[in-house]
């Protein structure tokens, strides 16, 4: 039973990392959003599984939040945004896909090497999860820095938060306060981003961050 629990958790967490790679691979906004939705769904599943495994029902709340908000609502809103703002669909990535993927591999290796050796003390599921979580976080950051497009960056940021939630749930018996705060912060963060996108819509013709960076202070 235990190894089944373990394998499933392992599978789901690995799935998250995989989805991160998929997102890393995408160069079109809609598909990127789809990948993100899928990752969020996987996250919800893994959180739920954790709730069962740890016998911690409150985690189900987090799972539900993830499933509804991140897997469904946000992707819809993003699609709407893209349509309403008329953003050109293809996002120009900074470097080619190949180097990015290689960097991603290196990051995963790094996090694995770091975590698996570090957390001898804590239980197996935890170290697996935390290792995967770290790689998801790093990959999320990588997505952020390799995308020139605001929406792309936002998505990268949110997949980073997915990694955080994975870590939080992986940590055995971590108090409620954290999940709430995470969800809450994601909510607020998203609201604010939304506000921004609309303001930016008012002011600029694009949500391309580069356009935002035209001023950059003192460069008159």
């Amino acid at each position: 039973m235990h190894d089944f629990v373990f394998d499933t958790a392992h599978l789901l967490a690995g799935g998250l990392v995989l989805m991160s790679f998929v997102m890393l691979y995408q160069d079109r906004l809609p598909s990127l959003i789809n990948a993100f939705a899928l990752q969020s769904a996987l996250l919800a599943a893994s959180v739920a599984w954790q709730a069962l495994a740890q016998g911690a029902p409150h985690l189900l709340v987090t799972a539900v939040i993830a499933a509804t908000l991140k897997a469904i609502v946000i992707p819809l809103v993003l699609r709407y945004l893209i349509r309403s703002l008329g953003i050109h669909r293809t996002i120009e990535t900074v470097t080619g896909i190949g180097p990015t993927m290689l960097a991603g591999m290196a990051l995963v290796a790094l996090s694995m090497g770091l975590m698996l050796r570090a957390t001898e003390a804590s239980n197996v599921i935890a170290r697996e999860d935390i290792a995967f979580a770290l790689s998801v976080v790093l990959l999320g950051l990588l997505i952020m820095v390799t995308r020139r497009n605001a929406v792309g960056q936002v998505i990268g940021f949110m997949s980073l938060e997915n990694g955080l939630i994975l870590a939080g749930t992986g940590a055995h018996g971590m108090p409620m306060v954290v999940e709430i705060s995470v969800a809450f912060s994601v909510l607020i963060a998203f609201i604010v981003i939304g506000i921004f996108l609309f303001r930016i819509r008012e002011r600029f013709d694009t949500v391309d961050v580069a356009a935002l960076d035209r001023f950059r202070g003192e460069r008159q």
Binding site: S111, L114, L138, M144, V145, V209, A210, L212, R216, G217
Partner: protein, 669 residues
């Protein structure tokens, strides 16, 4: 007791500063401020003299500053002597300012800072722990910086102030590191604790180097002098007098305190460095001065020269002390300290004179002055005395101290080390050269400013300055003469100081008969008596006058100048500052400053005026300061683009530093 009295005076000065901040706008504010300052400085001066005679060491600990350290003050012979220097100068300049202050356009920018500046200098001399010392030191710098910026509308003054404050802070940080070296890893910052353990050679040399950077930059050691001729003249003249005549001496005090007292440096190689630096400073300082035609800047450069002479004396003292030749060390130290005192006298006097000229004509440029001896006879007389004194002419005080310095140089054969034996005469030659050039420079300064025919309308319509200014100058001039005629009295007063720093005193002064000649060292019969010389000169002049009265035709007739038959009415044809210095510029300037003269003579038939353009390059600025400035600008330019990256690039920075840290951890674990 005495220390307490001095501290009270200092507190009073601060009080005056605060009061002045409010009274500055009132008409009587000036009188109040300078009057109070004169009184307080005089009181402190008397207390300091008493302390110098009493010779008792007093300490005082106030519960301010760092709680566990407190503010420690100490009055010993060394401190007392420099207190005398500081407060004498302060009192004189306060009296001078009582009259001269009328010329101040913005009293609000002077009155509050002037007392605080003086109080800060007093505190530096009294401080007995590193924190208090640096606190007072930097306070002194800050206040004088504010005074330099009195005429802040002038861009040159702002530049001077900027260079000054940066150099001052540089010096402070160097001193801070020096104290850090002395305090050691767990050491305390109280001077008493530092005196305890003598540092090893390496530490000592680092400390000496840092002290040279810190105190030397304040005193104006070449090549750290560049701020000095910019900042000193920028301030009002009575402040210039303080900065040039007194503040540089406070820097000398810092050097003596650190190197002689705290570090107890005892290695002849280090002293050789000081001697050589002093010689170079003296020579270059006077050469700079000769190239100058701004009266106040000329005086400031002469401060550099005299600081060089003082450091030669100090270096010799250190060298003798390192070799255990205490009598010789006493001679050298006494010479240096006596010159400190003398220079504070005549440099203040000269700056007062230049201030009087500035007030009367609004001109600092000697090329637009001249003939002032007719309109400002008293000022001219006092300035002449100061000029003769700083040119080391007997029977005035400048000669007495330089004579002592030469005597110290002449003792160099006693050195066991060949290096010093050869260095000393070479530096002696430099000093001699510097002295002769100084005389030349002050022939120029006095001759071009006060003699000849006025070169501008302002110079024509000048009027003698007010009584109080004249009184201040008269007092200093009198002191110059007295210190020259009976130097024994002053060197005798210095005995406790030299005892304190080189463990011996100069022989041959019994307080009962101070009119007896100076006998610097018992080894040889060398002696000098300003009094006898003075008497002889007086007698000779009397005899000459008598002879003229008896035999000569006393009639005089006024007539146009002859000038070989063809006098030119235009005052432009007389020698100016530039032309007077031209021979010396050709002889020395070409080497020292790569001085070039570009003469433009129009072709025949062209009636355009011929022009001569002199270009002088300050090696210190070129070699040291310009590169630093360029370097900072270069780095700033290279870094500036980091302000204009895109958000994604900034994220990249964060990301990379995270990955870097994790990688490091992964590799180290």
């Amino acid at each position: 007791m005495i220390l307490a009295a001095v501290m009270l005076c200092v507190a009073g000065m601060f009080a005056v500063a605060i009061a002045a901040a409010t009274l500055a706008s009132r008409p009587f504010g000036r009188v109040f401020c300078y009057g109070m300052m004169a009184a307080l400085a005089l009181a402190a001066l008397l207390a300091a003299i008493a302390g110098l005679h009493g010779g008792a060491v007093e300490t005082l600990r106030l519960p301010v500053g760092l709680p566990w350290l407190g503010a420690n003050f100490r009055l010993d012979a060394l401190a007392a002597f420099f207190l005398v220097v500081v407060n004498l100068g302060a009192a004189a300049s306060s009296v001078f300012a009582l009259g001269y202050g009328r010329h101040e356009t913005a009293p609000k920018r002077v009155l509050p800072f002037f007392p605080a500046f003086i109080a800060g200098m007093n505190l530096v001399v009294l401080a007995d722990d590193a924190f208090m010392f640096l606190f007072a030191w930097e306070l002194m710098s800050l206040m004088s910086w504010a005074l330099v910026l009195t005429q802040d509308r002038d861009a040159a003054n702002r530049r001077a102030g900027f260079i000054y404050i940066v150099m001052a802070s540089f010096g402070t940080l160097a001193l801070l590191l020096a104290f850090g070296m002395l305090a050691g890893p767990e050491g305390s910052y109280a001077f008493s604790a530092m005196r305890g353990h003598a540092p090893d050679l390496q530490t000592a040399s680092v400390v000496l180097f840092l002290a040279l950077l810190g105190a030397g930059s304040k005193a104006g050691i070449v090549p750290l002098h560049v701020w000095l001729p910019l900042a000193h003249p920028a301030a009002p003249s009575h402040v210039s007098a303080l900065m040039s005549g007194v503040m540089t001496k406070v820097a000398v005090y810092a050097f003596v305190r650190i190197v002689f007292d705290l570090a107890g440096v005892s290695d002849w190689r280090l002293s050789a460095v000081i001697i050589a630096l002093g010689g170079v400073t003296a020579l270059l300082g006077v050469l700079y001065a000769l190239m100058e035609h701004d009266l106040k800047r000329l005086l400031a450069y002469h401060t550099v020269e005299n600081i060089g002479i003082i450091f030669v004396g100090l270096g010799l003292a250190l060298a003798f002390r390192a070799n255990g030749l205490h009598a010789a060390a006493a001679l050298a130290a006494t010479a240096a300290l006596f010159h400190v005192f003398n220079h504070s006298l005549f440099k203040s006097l000269l700056f007062f004179g230049s201030g009087a000229v500035l007030g009367a004509t609004g001109e600092r440029d000697m090329e637009r002055l001249g003939g002032l001896i007719h309109r400002m006879p008293k000022t001219a007389a006092y300035f002449l005395i100061g000029a003769a004194a700083i040119s080391a002419l007997p029977p005035l005080n400048g000669f007495a101290s330089e004579w002592l310095t030469f005597q110290a140089v002449f003792l160099s054969p006693q050195f066991p080390q060949w290096g010093l034996r050869f260095l000393a005469p070479a530096v002696g030659a430099m000093l001699a050269l510097a002295a002769a050039l100084a005389a030349a420079c002050f022939v120029k300064a006095f001759g071009i400013t006060f003699l000849g025919r006025p070169r501008s309308r302002e110079a024509q319509t000048a009027h003698e300055t007010d009584r109080l200014s004249l009184a201040a100058m008269a007092g200093l001039a009198a002191l110059c003469i007295v210190a020259g005629v009976v130097p024994g009295a002053f060197t005798a007063a210095l005995a406790p100081v030299s005892k304190a720093i080189v463990f011996d005193r100069m022989p041959g002064q019994n307080p009962a008969a101070l009119w007896l000649p100076l006998v610097p060292s018992l080894g040889n019969a060398n002696s000098y008596s300003g009094l006898i010389l003075f008497a002889l000169l007086a007698a000779a002049m009397a005899l000459v006058a008598l002879a003229l009265r008896i035999w000569a035709n006393g009639a005089s007739r006024r007539a146009p100048a002859w000038d070989c038959g063809l006098p030119d009415p235009s005052p432009a044809t007389q020698y100016g500052a530039e032309s007077f210095a031209q021979p010396i510029r050709r002889v020395f300037g070409t080497i020292a400053f790569r001085a070039r003269e570009d003469v433009f003579t129009p072709p025949p038939g062209d009636t355009a005026a011929a022009r001569i353009h002199v270009r002088i390059i300050d090696p210190a600025w070129e070699a040291l300061f310009a590169p630093v400035g360029r370097g900072v600008n270069f780095v700033a330019d290279r870094m500036n683009p980091l302000q204009f990256l895109t958000i994604r690039r900034y994220l990249m920075l964060v990301f990379l530093s995270l990955v870097f840290l994790l990688a490091v951890l992964a590799l180290w674990l």
